[in-house]
Structures are given as structure tokens and as C-alpha cells.
């Protein structure tokens, strides 16, 4: 293959098979549970069986005497060692200007437990089974207290209190938008459509449970933590700067192969903190692996909003204003993004794809005796999309308008577009996606398909969802002004080896996204070298200079842009060296298809030859140009990116059984430019599956009286299986993002954002009902179908 064909096969825009697949399909991946350090001991956590209780006494004498037990640690030991609490990375303020209110989040409970699964003590033993056996011997005297698990009622003056620091369990009462302008819009409205909307609580359930191995090297004083993290550098920063387990320069965090994250592996949890801390105490590596049952009770949950939303329309069906009041369940403690998810990642997207002159949104962040709620795939944006797309569909139906036409009429058409809720949409073509989705699903012939289904005794419906999201998070100064504790740039380092092969060290972390392939495609394309010569290194704080990690569909738009900038620097330096080696002016050097040539001549150097020249330093003045070829960048985006598209679902419901079958699901997305279409489609498939899961199957349920998690296993929490889902029809439209050098927008969350309202709109259409609660179980659908 010549260089040009090679570029076509593996460069930007090619569906290159993944470089990472070989190790996974042959069983040679290295997940945290596969790591086995010499002499490692095992940790098992004693967890609260109560939603709310005082911890009066912990008697662990029997546990300590049990076979194989090395050490038992409690909150008192944590306090004695002066460790800080776990942190939230985002500070939001209430309407009255006061900062959000919450209590401390101890690594191990000191006086109180605040949710079922809260960490009380840890037993460290020779084997995992011994640690578990002994944990059952730890005798904790609890004083059970009343609990509250749902937002409704949690803010009553007499409700059980989660933290004394947060009266009425209210962490914040936040607002966004222009209240007066929105009131005026409603006063002038010809029609107001309102809905009460519940966004059901979800449990992310990455297939790899969380895990950690902490190790202390007595000789150097260096700690190493292997952990299931989406953001190892952030973990190191938090563990050193806030928790104080080890100084940053004495802590190495490695996130090896990670089996999915979806937001649940962003936070720096108690368990990994304890593994690092305890490894010094026991003088041996300490390993902890979550049972799935532990994942259910202690991983960050997602969503859980109660919302009242109203849309004001004029006599022609043009949108005038949107008013939203949301109560967001935060759980018992704030995690890294907990405060931003229901505020800045939510209300800022309430304009959807629509030209909405006035928006006002109020959000109460409510603390409850449940597992912490944090980012889960989409994080705030699915909740916003669900609100707007349910309202829009309902409005179209009540006005007797075609739902596609009604959306078209209200679409934003001029860019840039400043919404009333902070975001400045830079580019998009919403009608293009809508039209393509309508074509792909054959919208024109839907009435015929419905009649045909009716003849079979089935109810068929179609539902639209025209979503938008803000990705590529995010410009550092912008998020700083909104309360983020860190900047959200990304870093990259491009190391060209003397032989011309290249290592790229990225601060993004791949846990299924395929960065080892897509990032290598970019490098191969830009440098004109074979993709096999490119190695992507990530997930190790000792190797990668720094990184903010992977979440919020940011790794393409921000992480790859950082690589692109570093590549620019590499090429710029290489050109200078080439000019000396080829004895030509720098301006005459052309770099194309992996060759530096002197324009108009046949004199040239292949990339690998240039690399060797850079390292020998024989043919250029090293007083002017340093030897070597390695460049870094810290890239800060100039704006969010705004992926958008239209998803359409077609469902059939059997009124006799209530079973909802998704017959067809079309997703047409505008992700800007695309590096690897195969991988992008895969991201859409996975996101849509999680969105359909939310709409039809998944629900995290706490018992209102006892605060027990009722859906605490795969027997009770209904994960989508292969036969719950259809094959998906995925299409794209493209408007390149102007805010980053590659024109990428991000694709990881779109499916989970777009799918739920499409499904619910299709179900309500099929059943002819105004609303139905997620998840639409057969029971709910059957009741609705039969007017019960």
C-alpha cells in the first residue's frame, strides 16, 4: 500500500478496526481485578444496613481474632490520622447568593450512617474470603433513625435531616434565566402546556465492578493506586490535596483497562482511599473488589428528578417561554459533579433546539438518605432533553400539529445563537437531522403501518426527540465562573522516537471509547506514518503529564485537540530541522504524506529519517534548535460543543399484555467531523440502549419506610438484554464544530440523551395518553392501554 492508500485505510474518517481489541478478545486485558501484587491482602467493607442511624459502638474484637485477619479500621482511625473527607468539585450558589450547604463526607462513618451501604469499617485479611467472613463478625451498635429517600417530603420542616448543616435537606435553591421576562411571556401566551415529569433514578452498572489495589513502597515512600477510574490524575489530586492520603509527588495512580464507566468511575470513593491509606498501615498491598451487590448500593446513581414544566406558546404555535421547577435528589453526600449535574449541566440545555426567547428554571438540590447521585451518561442533559421534548411533543398534539412540523417551525436557524440560559450555540442544522431521520424511518408511511398494526390488534406509535447537548467540557474560565474547582482543559504529549515511531501520552482515559485507535488515526493521518507505529498511552500518572480524564463526551473535542496542537508543534520543529538537513529555506519545506521535501525538487526526508536526524543533532545548530522531537500541549477549548440530532422511535404495544416492543429506532446525529464512523456508531448504539433501558426497564427504587434499596441486584434492577432491544438505524449529518481544530463535537452521550423522550413520545402516541411514567413496564403500559 502506498502512503496515500494507507492514509485512506487508517486515517481520519476511516472505520479502522480497533487496536485494543486483540487483548480483549483473547482474554489478555488487564483490569484492576487482574492485578495481583506480591503479598497482597484483601479488604472487605462493613456497610450500613440502615438508611439513617447513629453509630454508637463498633466492636471488632471477634473479627480481629478471626482466621487470617490482619487489621480492622474504622472512622476513628481515619480521624486519628487526620485524613480529610471526600469532596465535591463544584460549588453552586443559591438564589440568595449563599453557598450550597451540606455536611462532611467522611471516608469511614464517624457518628452517623446516612444511606444503606454507607462505609462503617474495613477488615483486611489474608484472603478475600477471610476478610468477608470476618466483616460479618464486626458488631456495630446502631441507633436507627427515621429516614427520607424521595425528594417529595424531604424539604418539610419535620422531615428527618440528612445533615444538620443543610436545614430542610436543601443543599441549594438555585435559579437560572430571566424570571420577569419569562413571566411576561406566560402572560402573553395564547396557550400554555404543562407536565409533571419524573426522571427515574438509575444505577450505571458498568459491567466491571469498581476495584482498587493500594500499595506502599517503604523504601521510597511512594504509594501506588491501581483503580477503576475515568480520571486518574484527578484522583491523585483529590487524594493528595483534599483527603491528604499522600503528597501528590508520592502518589502514583494507574487506571489500567477499565470496564466501562458511564460517570460512575469519576468520583474518588472511600474504597480506593482506604486501600491506599491502609497499605502503609499493614505494610502490604491492599486489594478491594466490589461485589455487584456493593456496586448497587455504593456506586454513584444517576438522574432522579421531579419536575414541573410549562411551555408558553403564541396563537401560531411559536414558543414564547419555558418555566421549569425541578427538585433533584442528590443522595446523602455530594460527589465530584453532583452539584453541577442538576444545575449547569441541566438548565443550560433547556432551550433544546428551539428559538425560545425566555426561560426561567429553578432547581432545588435535595439531600436524602440514599446513595450519592452524580454524573451518569448524559448527566443533566438527558433530564433537560426529556423535559423539553416531552413538552414539545405534548404541545404539538394539543395544537393538532404534526410533531415534525411543529419542531421545524420553532427550530433555531441562525448561528451563533445565544440562548437565554448561558449557552451560545455556535453551529448546527437541526432541520437536516430531522429530515434525514424522517426519511430513514419512512415517516410519510407511518399511518399505513399503524393501520396494519391495529388490524393485528396492536397499538403502534411514533415518537420524536430532537435533542441537543453541550459537550467538549469545557472552557476552563467559563466553568470556573460557574463554580468548578478545576479547569477542564486536556493535555497531550507527542514523543517521536529516533526510529520514527510515536508515543502519544494523553490525559484522556479510555474505558471502552477506543481512544487507542481513534487517537492513533489522528496521529497516523497527520504524520503520514503507519497506524502500527503509533502507541497511545493513558491512565498512569507517572507516564502522562496530567489529564482531566474522560467524561462528558470530551475526549475527542478536548483530548484529541490537545494532541492536534502538540502535533502542530512537532511538525513545526521538524520542518526547521528538515530545512537544515536539506539545506533549504524553512518556507520551502513541504510536509506531505509523511515526507519532508524541498518544494519543486526531489530532495526529501521520510518522517523516520527526520526523526533520527532530530535525535543525532548532527546537521542542525543545537544552540538554536534543541535536539530531540517531543512536544506537549495543554489545550483549553474556546467553547462547549453542541452535538444535536433527531431520534425517532416506533413502538408496538400489545394491549393484552402491556409489552412494549421497540420496532424501529432511528438516530440521526450531528457530531461534527468524525474520526472513526464504526466507533461513533458503536457509541450511539450503547447510548441508545441505555436510553431505552431508562424508558422501559431500569428503575432504582428505595423503600420509602426503611430506605432499603429494593432494586439492589440484577434480579430486581432490569438491565436491557439483547432481546429487549432492536437493531438500530444510525445516520449522521455534519456541521463541523468551529471551536476546536478538528471540528469534533463528541458522541458518547447522545444516545442516552435522545432515546428516552423518543420512546415515551412513541408510547403515549400509541396509547393515546397524555403521559406515562418511566420505566414503562408492561404493567404500566397495560394499565394505560386499558384505561386503568
Amino acid at each position: 500500500m502506498n502512503a496515500i492508500d494507507a492514509k485512506k485505510a487508517t486515517g481520519i474518517g476511516a472505520s479502522v478496526p480497533r487496536k485494543e481489541d486483540f487483548r480483549f478478545i483473547t482474554g489478555n486485558g488487564h483490569y484492576t481485578d487482574d492485578i495481583c501484587r506480591p503479598g497482597q491482602a484483601y479488604a472487605c467493607f462493613v456497610r450500613s444496613p440502615y438508611a439513617h442511624a447513629t453509630v454508637d459502638d463498633i466492636d471488632f474484637a471477634d473479627a480481629l481474632a478471626a482466621p487470617g485477619v490482619i487489621l480492622v479500621l474504622t472512622g476513628k482511625d481515619v480521624a486519628a490520622d487526620g485524613l480529610g473527607g471526600l469532596i465535591c468539585g463544584w460549588l453552586v450558589h443559591s438564589k440568595d447568593g449563599s453557598p450550597m450547604k451540606t455536611g462532611a463526607h467522611p471516608v469511614l462513618a464517624l457518628t452517623h450512617v446516612r444511606y444503606v451501604g454507607d462505609h462503617v469499617a474495613v477488615v483486611i485479611a489474608e484472603t478475600a474470603a477471610q476478610a468477608r467472613d470476618a466483616a460479618e463478625l464486626v458488631d456495630v451498635s446502631y441507633g436507627e433513625l427515621a429516614s427520607v429517600t424521595a425528594v417529595s417530603g424531604a424539604q418539610a420542616p419535620d422531615a428527618p435531616q440528612v445533615h444538620p448543616e443543610a436545614p430542610r435537606n436543601t443543599c441549594f435553591e438555585w435559579e437560572l434565566g430571566d424570571k420577569a421576562a419569562t413571566e411576561a411571556a406566560f402572560n402573553n401566551a395564547a396557550k400554555v402546556v404543562s407536565l409533571d415529569i419524573a426522571n427515574n433514578r438509575l444505577i450505571p452498572n458498568a459491567m466491571e465492578p469498581r476495584a482498587a489495589v493500594g500499595e506502599y513502597d517503604k523504601g521510597t515512600g511512594v504509594y501506588t493506586l491501581y483503580t477503576t477510574s475515568q480520571n486518574p490524575h484527578v484522583a491523585r489530586l483529590v487524594l493528595s490535596a483534599f483527603v491528604g492520603v499522600a503528597p501528590e509527588n508520592k502518589l502514583r495512580v494507574i487506571a489500567p483497562d477499565v470496564g466501562g464507566g458511564f460517570g460512575s468511575k469519576i468520583f474518588i470513593y472511600s474504597e480506593e482511599t482506604v486501600c491506599v491509606w491502609a497499605s502503609k498501615k499493614v505494610g502490604r498491598p491492599v486489594k478491594w473488589i466490589a461485589d455487584r451487590s456493593e456496586s448497587f448500593v455504593s456506586d454513584a446513581h444517576g438522574r432522579d428528578h421531579q419536575t414541573h414544566a410549562e411551555l408558553a406558546l403564541d396563537a401560531n404555535g411559536k414558543m414564547l417561554g419555558l418555566r421549569v421547577k425541578t427538585k433533584a435528589n442528590l443522595g446523602a453526600y455530594l460527589q465530584l459533579f453532583s452539584a453541577s449535574v442538576p444545575t449547569y449541566l441541566y438548565a443550560t440545555l433547556l432551550s433544546g433546539q428551539y428559538d425560545l426567547p425566555a426561560i426561567y428554571c429553578e432547581v432545588d438540590g435535595v439531600l436524602t438518605h440514599t446513595a450519592p447521585v452524580d454524573a451518569y451518561r448524559g448527566a443533566g442533559r438527558p433530564e433537560a432533553t426529556f423535559v423539553i421534548e416531552r413538552l414539545v411533543e405534548t404541545a404539538a398534539r394539543e395544537l393538532g400539529e404534526d410533531p415534525a412540523e411543529f419542531r421545524r417551525k420553532n427550530f433555531i436557524r441562525k448561528f451563533p445563537h445565544q440562548t437565554p440560559v448561558i449557552m451560545a450555540y455556535d453551529v448546527g442544522d437541526y432541520e437536516a437531522s430531522l429530515n434525514e431521520a424522517c426519511r430513514m424511518i419512512d415517516y410519510a408511511n407511518f399511518p399505513q403501518r399503524r393501520r396494519e398494526a391495529e388490524a393485528r390488534g396492536m397499538r403502534r406509535g411514533i415518537g420524536f426527540s430532537a435533542y441537543i447537548e453541550a459537550c467538549g467540557i469545557a472552557p476552563s474560565a467559563a466553568v470556573g465562573s460557574l463554580g468548578a474547582g478545576v479547569g477542564l482543559w486536556e493535555s497531550a504529549e507527542v514523543r517521536v522516537n529516533p526510529t520514527g515511531s510515536v508515543e502519544v501520552l494523553t490525559g484522556a482515559h479510555s474505558h471502552g471509547q477506543g481512544h487507542e485507535t481513534t487517537f492513533a488515526q489522528l496521529v497516523s493521518d497527520r504524520l503520514g506514518i503507519p497506524i502500527e507505529s503509533v502507541e497511545i498511552v493513558h491512565g498512569d500518572t507517572d507516564k502522562v503529564q496530567f489529564g482531566m480524564g474522560t467524561y462528558g463526551s470530551r475526549s475527542g473535542a478536548v483530548g484529541m485537540s490537545a494532541i492536534q496542537v502538540a502535533l502542530d508543534k512537532v511538525i513545526a520543529k521538524a520542518r526547521k530541522i528538515a530545512a537544515h538537513v536539506l539545506e533549504a529555506g524553512e518556507g520551502d519545506i513541504v510536509f506531505e504524506n509523511g515526507h519532508f521535501t524541498v518544494a519543486g525538487t526531489d530532495r526529501g526526508l521520510a518522517f523516520a529519517e527526520l526523526a533520527l536526524q532530530a535525535y543525532t543533532g548532527h546537521k542542525f545548530p543545537t544552540s538554536e534548535i534543541e535536539p530531540g522531537l517531543k512536544e506537549t500541549s495543554f489545550y483549553d477549548p474556546t467553547n462547549f460543543t453542541f452535538p444535536a440530532g433527531t431520534h425517532i422511535a416506533e413502538v408496538e404495544i400489545d394491549p393484552g399484555t402491556g409489552v412494549v416492543k421497540v420496532i424501529k429506532f432511528v438516530a440521526v446525529d450531528d457530531f461534527g467531523n468524525i474520526i472513526n464512523p464504526m466507533i461513533v456508531e458503536g457509541q450511539v448504539h450503547g447510548g441508545v440502549a441505555q436510553g431505552i433501558g431508562q424508558a422501559l426497564l431500569e428503575n432504582a427504587v428505595y423503600d420509602p419506610d426503611t430506605g432499603q434499596l429494593l432494586s439492589g441486584s440484577f434480579m430486581d434492577y432490569c438491565m436491557p438484554r439483547a432481546d429487549d432491544l432492536p437493531s438500530f438505524d444510525v445516520g449522521v449529518t455534519v456541521t463541523a464544530a468551529p471551536s476546536n481544530p478538528l471540528g469534533l463535537k463528541g458522541c458518547g452521550e447522545a444516545g442516552a440523551i435522545g432515546a428516552p423522550p423518543a420512546i415515551i413520545n412513541a408510547i403515549t402516541d400509541a396509547l393515546g395518553v397524555r403521559d406515562i411514567a418511566m420505566p414503562v413496564t408492561p404493567e404500566r403500559a397495560w394499565r394505560a392501554a386499558n384505561g386503568l
Binding site: T26, G27, A206, P209, G259, S293, H685, R721, A722
Partner: protein, 153 residues
Amino acid sequence: MTVVAMQVNGKQVSADVEPRTLLVHYLRENLQLTGTHVGCDTSQCGACVVHVDGKAVKSCTVLAMQAAGALVRTIEGLADGDKLHPVQEAFKEHHGLQCGFCTPGMIMTAVDMLRRIPKPDETTIRHELEGNFCRCTGYHNIVKAIKAASEVL
């Protein structure tokens, strides 16, 4: 403790384990065959599927002792030397994996499925996968990969 011996991936192996040791832990901890994963504690996810005497089995649901003397095959033993099994090839070709955690179990399940049902249609494949969770792929490309593998097997 008790000595449990079996044949794994063509090799005779034995280890001294607690009687309560599950086959999956025997494989992972005692034999360091970490390709077989543990994704749940209720026999629901299928990340742990291996073949015991030629049949797909959830290795988290079998005691190592129950597999004593059996012929066990794990994901590590599926390829023929450097030559990948057609199901492995198909998963790579059709992007049937993302994070890779469910993948060994999926592949072992698929191999067993195609042994029993050589030419399954999409509905059958989806039904046959009911014991395996994947949280990443939405199953679309897994189904596609199994279909493709069935055509070359």
C-alpha cells in the same frame, strides 16, 4: 482445603483450594487465567462464561470441585495458536466490543450457541444471549458479529 484437578485449555492442572471455591476463582486466582471475568454475584451477567466438557457454563455458579476431572476451556484457550477463532475475528471486525469486560463471556457463549445452532437468525441470537449483559454496545454489533461468524463457521 482440597486438591482439585482438571484439564484447562488442554493442560492438566491442579490446585489446593477451599471447598467453597468457585470455578471462576479457581481459574482466575489459582491459574491466573484472568480473561474470565466476574460481573455480578447473582448468575445474571455471563461475564464468567467458560466451556465445561464442551458446554457453556457460568463459572461463577459452579464450584471448582464440581468441575474436577472436567475438560475446561476459557477465552485464553479459544484461539488456535496465533489463529483467532472465527467468533473472535468477527467481534473485532464488527466492533462487537467496547470496554471488553463482557467480551470473553460473550464470545464463549457465542461459540457454544453456534455449536448448537449453526445458522441462527437475529431473533434467535438475541434470545440466546439472554444470559449475558453488555452495558457498552447495546448488543447491535455483538449480534452482527455472531451472525457474521455463523456464515463463515
